[in-house]
C-alpha cells in the first residue's frame, strides 16, 4: 500500500500544477478569441416608428422571400383576420406584425413588427455552448449553422424570446431568427423588410444617427410619441429601436433593465475561472488535505 513515497507525490502534484497553469495561461486568449464578436461604433440599426406602421405585413412577405422560406401569395397578406391572434416569430417566419388597440383612436389600431432586437450585448452569444452566435460589425447577431448542436440554450437565455427551433425535424433542425439580412447588407443592400416597407416605418441607418432621429421626433411631436426609445438602453442597448405612442408594456414589450442580459452570468463565470486560479487553488487545497490526512494516518499507524 505504501508504495509511493512523499517525494513522488510532491513531484506529481507539481507536474499537475504546472500543466494546469500552462493551460490557464493559454486558455483565456483562446476563449476570448473563439466567437468573433465586434461592437462597432458604426454599427447599423433600424428605428421602428410604430405610429407609422399600417400593418400591411409586406415585411413578413419580403423576409420570407429573401430567406428562401415559403412566402405564398403577396395578396394573401392583405387579410386582416390574422390579427385576431398574437403571433410570434417561428420557423415559418422570422418576423411578424401584431395588432394592438389604439386608445386614442379605435379605428386605427397600432401595428407592431416583432423580430430579433439584435442586442449589443446579446444573451444568445454569451450563452451558446459552441459560440454559434456572433455579433457582427454591422450590428447583426447571426447564427452559424455549422456550429450549432441544437441545445436551445439560446432560447432559454434570450430576454425577448426570439430564437425558434425546428421541433419537427429529425435531422439538421435549425435555430430560426432574424439575421438582420446579413448577406444583403454585406452587399450594400437594405434589409428586405426595410426595403419593402411602403411607409418607411423602418428606418435603416447608423444606430447613433437613429437615436438622434428618434430624439428629434420625440422633441418635435411630444403628443405623438412617448418619451422613451425602447432599445436605447434596454439590456445594454439593441440595434433595433422602437418608438411608440402607447406604453411599451401594453405593446407586450418585456420590462427590462439597463444591464446586459448576460452580465451576471458572465461575471460569475469569469469569477470562477479567473485565469483558472480558483479551480487550481481548489485542486491544490484538496491535494494538501489529502497529503496531510494520509500522513496523519501513517503516523497514527506508527504510534499503534
Amino acid at each position: 500500500m505504501n508504495k509511493q513515497n512523499r517525494r513522488d507525490f510532491l513531484k506529481s502534484v507539481t507536474t499537475v500544477g504546472i500543466t494546469a497553469a500552462g493551460l490557464s495561461a493559454a486558455a483565456p486568449t483562446k476563449l476570448n478569441a473563439a466567437p468573433e464578436n465586434v461592437l462597432s461604433e458604426d454599427r447599423m440599426g433600424v428605428l421602428v416608428d410604430t405610429t407609422v406602421c399600417i400593418g400591411c405585413r409586406k415585411c413578413e412577405w419580403a423576409c420570407k422571400e429573401s430567406h428562401g422560406m415559403h412566402a405564398g401569395d403577396i395578396e394573401d397578406y392583405d387579410e386582416k383576420g390574422i390579427f385576431n391572434s398574437r403571433r410570434r416569430p417561428d420557423h415559418t417566419g422570422h418576423t411578424v406584425v401584431n395588432e394592438y388597440e389604439n386608445d386614442k383612436n379605435r379605428s386605427l389600431p397600432i401595428y407592431l413588427k416583432v423580430q430579433c432586437m439584435h442586442c449589443d450585448r446579446p444573451a444568445c452569444v454569451s450563452a451558446c455552448i459552441v459560440g454559434a452566435f456572433s455579433k457582427k460589425e454591422s450590428g447583426a447577431v447571426i447564427w452559424d449553422d455549422s456550429k450549432c448542436i441544437g441545445c436551445r440554450y439560446c432560447m432559454v437565455a434570450c430576454p425577448f424570446q426570439i430564437p425558434a427551433f425546428d421541433y419537427h425535424k429529425a435531422l439538421e433542425p435549425d435555430i430560426h431568427k432574424c439575421d438582420f439580412c446579413f448577406d444583403r447588407t454585406k452587399n450594400g443592400k437594405l434589409p428586405a423588410c426595410v426595403e419593402i416597407c411602403p411607409v418607411e416605418t423602418l428606418t435603416y441607418g447608423k444606430r447613433s444617427d437613429l437615436i438622434q432621429v428618434a430624439r428629434n421626433k420625440i422633441k418635435n411631436y411630444p403628443d405623438r410619441y412617448l418619451d422613451h426609445i425602447f432599445g436605447e438602453t434596454e439590456v445594454g442597448g439593441t440595434s433595433w429601436l422602437y418608438l411608440a405612442s402607447k406604453e411599451f408594456e401594453k405593446l407586450d414589450f418585456p420590462k427590462l433593465g439597463k444591464n446586459p442580459a448576460p452580465g451576471v452570468s458572465e461575471s460569475i463565470q469569469h469569477g470562477i475561472f479567473a485565469y483558472f486560479i480558483p479551480p487550481i487553488a481548489l485542486y491544490a487545497l484538496l491535494g494538501g488535505i489529502m497529503w496531510i490526512s494520509k500522513n496523519r494516518d501513517k503516523s497514527e499507524g506508527e504510534a499503534h
Binding site: 500500500m1 505504501n2 509511493q4 513522488d8 507525490f9 506529481s12 499537475v16 483565456p28 483562446k30 476563449l31 476570448n32 473563439a34 398574437r86 410570434r88 444573451a123 454569451s126 450563452a127 451558446c128 455552448i129 459552441v130 459560440g131 456550429k147 450549432c148 448542436i149 441544437g150 436551445r152 440554450y153 432560447m155 432559454v156 437565455a157 430576454p159 424570446q161 425558434a164 427551433f165 425546428d166 421541433y167 419537427h168 425535424k169 433542425p173 407586450d252 418585456p254 442580459a261 448576460p262 451576471v264 452570468s265 460569475i268 463565470q269 469569469h270 470562477i272 475561472f273 479551480p279 481548489l282 485542486y283 484538496l286 491535494g287 488535505i289 489529502m290 490526512s293 494520509k294 494516518d297
Partner: protein, 412 residues
C-alpha cells in the same frame, strides 16, 4: 473491532418480478426514443419555442447530475479526508455516479436537436457560456469516473481473462495490459480523484449559473446571483442521502443486512450540510425580500414551500435526531426526502420558475417525455444490478478478515 468489509460480486439471479417490470418500462422508453430520433423532438415532447427545455434537461440532466453527487462527496470523504471506514460505500457510490453521468450524457444527446454534433464543444469554445463549462466538465468528469472505475475492472479480470475461441490466444496479452494498467493507475489515481472532486464542484455550481442568464424569465423565488452556490451546497447535502438510500435499497434487494453503523455516521454529516444549504437559501430569500411572493397562492409559491419544508426542513430535523439516524427506516425516509427536495429544486429551477414573457400555454411533460425519463431511470437501475452482479462493488463482511479492499488509495 468491526469485521473488515470486502467488495464481492452479488450472487443472486438477475431477473425478479421487479426487474421484469423495470425492463418493460425501459423498453417503453426506448420506443418513444425511437420516435424522437425518426420524427424529431416535437413528435414526442411538449416542448415549444416558449419552453425550450423540459424534463429531459430539468430531471434527466440537472437532477441527474445533482443526484450523482454521491460519487464525489464519498470520494472526498473516503480518499481525500482519508476516512477509511467509509470505503465500503465508495464503490457503490462510484458506480452510481458513473452510471448517472453516463445517462446524463445520453439524455443531453437525446435532447440535443443535432445529437450527432455533440462533440462540437471540443473544438468550438465559448468561455462565456455556463453551458460550455458544464459540458466540458461533465465530459472530462465522465472520463475521470471511468478511469476511477478501471481498478475494479482490473481487479475482476487480472488472472481471470478467459476469452472464447480464437480470441483465447489474446488472453495473455490482455492480462499483461491489465496488469500494466493496474500498476500505472496505482501511482496516478490520486490525480484523478482530486480532479473528480474539483470538476464536480465546478459543474455542480455552474449548473446553477445556467439559469441566471434567463434573468427576468425566471421567477424571483429562484432567480438569484447565488444560484451556483445554492446548487453546489444542495449537491453536497444530497450526496450522502443518495448513498444511504442506494445502500439500503441494494441491501434489501440482495438480502443483506444494511450497514447501519456506516450509514448513520454518513447521516450525521447530512444535518450540518443541509443546515448550511438552508441557511443560504433562506438568507438569500430575506436579503432579496422574495418572501413577499410566498403570500400569494401560486404554483410557484406552493412548489417553493414544498421544496423547502418537505425537502429541507423536515429531513434536516430528522437527520439531527439520534434515533432516526440509528434506524434504517428513519435514515431511508430522511434520505428519500432530501433526494426528493433536490429533485424538486432542480425541477423548480429549470421548469416551474421558467416563465417566458410570451407564454400562451404552460409546460407539462408529455407521455413521451415521461416515458423516456422513466425508461432511463429503469435502465440505470438495471445496469447497476448488472454491474454489482458481475463486478466486486458491494462490500460484505469479510469472513476471512484479511484483505482490505483492493480499490483504495494506492501507495498510501
Amino acid at each position: 473491532m468491526e469485521l473488515a468489509m470486502k467488495p464481492e460480486q452479488m450472487k443472486k439471479k438477475f431477473f425478479t418480478p421487479w426487474v421484469i417490470a423495470l425492463t418493460l418500462i425501459a423498453i417503453n422508453g426506448l420506443i418513444f426514443l425511437a420516435i424522437r430520433f425518426f420524427w424529431g423532438i416535437g413528435a414526442v415532447t411538449n416542448l415549444s419555442n416558449e419552453h425550450p427545455w423540459g424534463i429531459w434537461i430539468g430531471i434527466d440532466v440537472a437532477a441527474g447530475v445533482a443526484l450523482a453527487a454521491g460519487g464525489f462527496t464519498t470520494a472526498a470523504l473516503g480518499h481525500i479526508m482519508h476516512r477509511d471506514k467509509y470505503e465500503a460505500v465508495i464503490r457503490p457510490a462510484l458506480l452510481t455516479a458513473m452510471l448517472g453521468y453516463t445517462f446524463v450524457a445520453v439524455s443531453v444527446a437525446v435532447d440535443l436537436g443535432r445529437y450527432y454534433s455533440i462533440w462540437h464543444p471540443l473544438i468550438y469554445w465559448n468561455g462565456n457560456s455556463a453551458l460550455f463549462e458544464v459540458g466540458m466538465c461533465v465530459m472530462i468528469y465522465v472520463t475521470v469516473l471511468y478511469i476511477e472505475f478501471l481498478p475494479i475492472v482490473t481487479e475482476r479480470f487480472i488472472g481471470r481473462v478467459n476469452l472464447p475461441g480464437v480470441l483465447s490466444r489474446l488472453n495473455g496479452t490482455i492480462d499483461k495490459i491489465l496488469r500494466a494498467l493496474d500498476r500505472g493507475l496505482n501511482k496516478t489515481m490520486f490525480i484523478f480523484i482530486i480532479a473528480g472532486v474539483v470538476l464536480s464542484c465546478l459543474h455542480q455550481s455552474s449548473l446553477g449559473t445556467l439559469m441566471i442568464i434567463a434573468g427576468p424569465k425566471m421567477h424571483p423565488l429562484w432567480q438569484t446571483p447565488v444560484l451556483p452556490l445554492l446548487f453546489l451546497l444542495s449537491a453536497f447535502s444530497v450526496g450522502f442521502p443518495m448513498v444511504i438510500m442506494e445502500s439500503i435499497t441494494a441491501s434489501k434487494s440482495f438480502g443483506l443486512k444494511p450497514e447501519t453503523h456506516i450509514l448513520s455516521k454518513l447521516g450525521s454529516m447530512v444535518g450540518p450540510l443541509l443546515g448550511i444549504y438552508l441557511a443560504f437559501k433562506l438568507g438569500d430569500m430575506f436579503i432579496r425580500e422574495t418572501f413577499v411572493y410566498l403570500t400569494e397562492l401560486t404554483t410557484e409559491s406552493v412548489m417553493f414551500s414544498i421544496e423547502i419544508l418537505l425537502g429541507v426542513v423536515i429531513p434536516l430535523r430528522m437527520f439531527l435526531s439520534n434515533e432516526v439516524r440509528k434506524s434504517p427506516t428513519g435514515l431511508y425516509i430522511a434520505s428519500v426526502l432530501v433526494i426528493f427536495g433536490v429533485l424538486l429544486n432542480r425541477i423548480n429551477n429549470f421548469l416551474v420558475a421558467y416563465t417566458p414573457p410570451y407564454e400562451t400555454a404552460s409546460y407539462f411533460p408529455s407521455i413521451g417525455e415521461i416515458s423516456v425519463t422513466l425508461g432511463f431511470v429503469c435502465m440505470e437501475i438495471l445496469l447497476y444490478r448488472f454491474f454489482v452482479k458481475h463486478f466486486p462493488i458491494i462490500s460484505i463482511p469479510d469472513k476471512a478478515g484479511i484483505n482490505k479492499a483492493k480499490y483504495s488509495i494506492k501507495g498510501a
